[in-house]
């Protein structure tokens, strides 16, 4: 079976779910999310997820937003 294409993502977490972060990460992982970093102070998780699962991540209770990790930033 072909390996699923993984995309780097950033996930904004609803502040109300900040205390249940561990449980939320578990729900994300159930959808294929792989955690890289938990930025607790700003309520953001970074990691990767199967390209076709990103819309499922957005549907999880406690997830505010999911965006693809943009890599085109530069000095101005």
């Amino acid at each position: 079976m072909a390996k699923k294409e993984m995309k780097d993502v950033v996930v904004a977490v609803d502040p109300k779910h900040k205390k249940q972060m561990k449980a939320l990460i578990g729900k994300l992982e159930d959808k294929g999310f792989v955690l890289a970093d938990s930025l607790t102070e700003i309520g953001v998780l970074t990691g990767s997820a199967p390209a076709d699962a990103i819309k499922d991540l957005k549907g999880i209770d406690g997830v505010e937003n999911v965006e693809l990790n943009r890599t085109d930033y530069s000095t101005q």
Partner: protein, 475 residues
């Protein structure tokens, strides 16, 4: 833009030396909308076509049968003698393309007909009396609707902006004459009044998220520096130069050890150097967000980000960055995130694109302060991006961003002069630190935003390009 905190100023208005008796009511005029109740001077304001003042004046004279004209251009430095102006049949505010007309109802009918005829006369309305407002009335919010007050404030600010260009004070401040680097100060520190300020941002933690820092720079000897790299495989040590330059502008010393001119704003601020862009000058969301998280965890009150990615016209801001910036602003006491508007608006011929390209990401978030760049004559830099996109994608404030002298890595000569909205951004960040010191460390981030925009030097340039104007330090 509408959701952002905006400046509120008490602008000067010309003193009135002649006060005709009020007429209690005034009929609405032909094509002009019905007027709310008010008191009128008996004169009329006539808006003339901006690109053809002489045709407008000709139309005004012929339609109303008036001949005696007095112009604000007749007075030096815009210092209009109101008694003389009030006596004229037509008093022209040439910068505003507005005429104040002493006309009877029949003459006014002629002018109103001219508006309908699509002539060089754009609009006619009765001139109102304006009164100083009692503070109690304002607080009660009863007698005067807030909407009306805002409109009045904007109109007065607009008038002041247009007329003040001719004032010697503003001319000396750089509208007409250029600033220049001196042996003591960069032009940017002079234009922003950092050079005159007694504040140093003492104790304010300011994070600069960039390409890192030259950690052995002699100008920063003895300063406490907290640093961390978020770029895999790269140390904080700046292999690019951009980060060291930006840190120099935001936090450089009052008297640089190398003996060069002063180039830094918050000279006693605490330096937090987060490397979120590689030595090659590029970076990604995950590193930038990790840098923001690190800065906030370390109680940095200001985060300066001289970085960005281009967005298309019509493209909206990132909801993730907006959520992060809102939380930063709303936390106690709060962190203000400041970012470069972007440099993509210069055409190959060196001119500025019109309209400019939109403010980039993440500066286009409503809760991130977007900074445009000015040159030493206080004109918009040709590369500086503008407020094209809706939903917060505007420029909020401007800073010195052309030919900016600051620190560089030692192996590149220790100092250098470069340009960009990147250079304007740390001016604003350092000055934010100075305002925090001046107002007290308990000042929240929303109030800090207001201080920066509310005290900016208004410029005769569209807010699309410079927002509230040139950032100014507390003095």
């Amino acid at each position: 833009m509408a959701r952002r905190p905006r400046r509120s100023t008490s602008a000067k208005s010309p003193a009135r030396t002649s006060t005709p008796q009020p007429s209690a009511s005034q009929p609405s005029l032909g094509s002009t909308p019905a007027e709310p109740p008010g008191e009128f001077t008996g004169r009329y304001l006539v808006l003339l076509r901006e690109d053809d003042l002489s045709s407008g004046l000709q139309a005004l004279k012929s339609r109303a049968g008036l001949s005696e004209v007095c112009s604000s251009a007749d007075f030096s430095h815009g210092e209009v003698e109101m008694a003389q102006a009030s006596d004229a049949e037509i008093f022209v505010l040439d910068k505003l393309k507005v005429a104040v007309v002493n006309a009877d109802p029949t003459q006014v009918q002629g002018l109103s007909a001219a508006v309908a005829d699509d002539s060089a006369i754009m609009a006619v309305e009765p001139e109102r009396f304006m009164y100083a407002l009692q503070r109690a009335e304002l607080q009660a919010g009863g007698a005067v609707p807030l909407q009306y007050l805002r409109g009045y404030r904007d109109a007065v600010n607009h008038l002041y902006d247009a007329l003040a260009v001719e004032s010697p004070e503003l001319a000396e401040a750089g509208i007409a004459a250029a600033f220049a680097d001196t042996a003591q100060f960069t032009w940017g520190l002079q234009a922003t009044k950092v050079s005159q300020s007694r504040f140093t941002g003492r104790g304010v933690r300011i994070a600069v998220l960039d390409t890192g820092m030259e950690l052995s720079h002699p100008d920063f000897a003895g300063r406490a520096i907290t640093s961390l790299s978020f770029i895999p495989g790269e140390q904080v040590q700046d292999g690019n130069g951009h980060g060291t330059h930006c840190i120099g502008t935001a936090l450089g010393a009052k008297s640089p050890m190398t003996g060069v001119r002063r180039y830094g704003c918050a000279s006693m601020g605490e330096i937090f150097a987060g490397k979120v862009l590689s030595n090659g000058g590029s970076g990604a969301d995950n590193g930038i967000l990790a840098g923001i998280n690190w800065a906030i965890t370390n109680q940095c009150r200001v985060i300066s980000m001289s970085l960005g990615a281009a967005v298309r016209p019509g493209e909206t801001f990132s909801p993730v960055y907006e959520a992060v910036a809102q939380r930063a602003l709303q936390s106690k006491p709060g962190t203000l995130i400041i970012a470069a508007a972007g440099n993509s608006s210069r055409l190959p011929n060196g001119q500025r694109r019109e309209p400019p390209n939109p403010v980039g990401r993440p500066a286009n978030c409503p809760s991130i302060m977007a900074v445009g760049a000015l040159d030493s004559t206080l004109k918009v830099a040709p590369f500086s991006d503008g407020g094209i996109n809706p939903n917060g994608g505007g420029v909020d404030i401007a800073g010195p961003g052309v030919s900016v002298f600051s620190s560089f890595p030692i192996n590149r000569g220790s100092h250098g002069t470069i340009s960009g909205t990147s250079m304007a951004t740390p001016h604003v960040a350092g000055i934010a630190g100075m305002w925090l010191e001046a107002a007290g460390m308990n000042t929240n981030a929303h109030a800090l935003w207001q201080m920066l925009t509310g005290n900016a030097l208004r410029l005769p340039i569209s807010s699309r390009d410079v927002g509230a104007g040139l950032v100014q330090a507390p003095v």
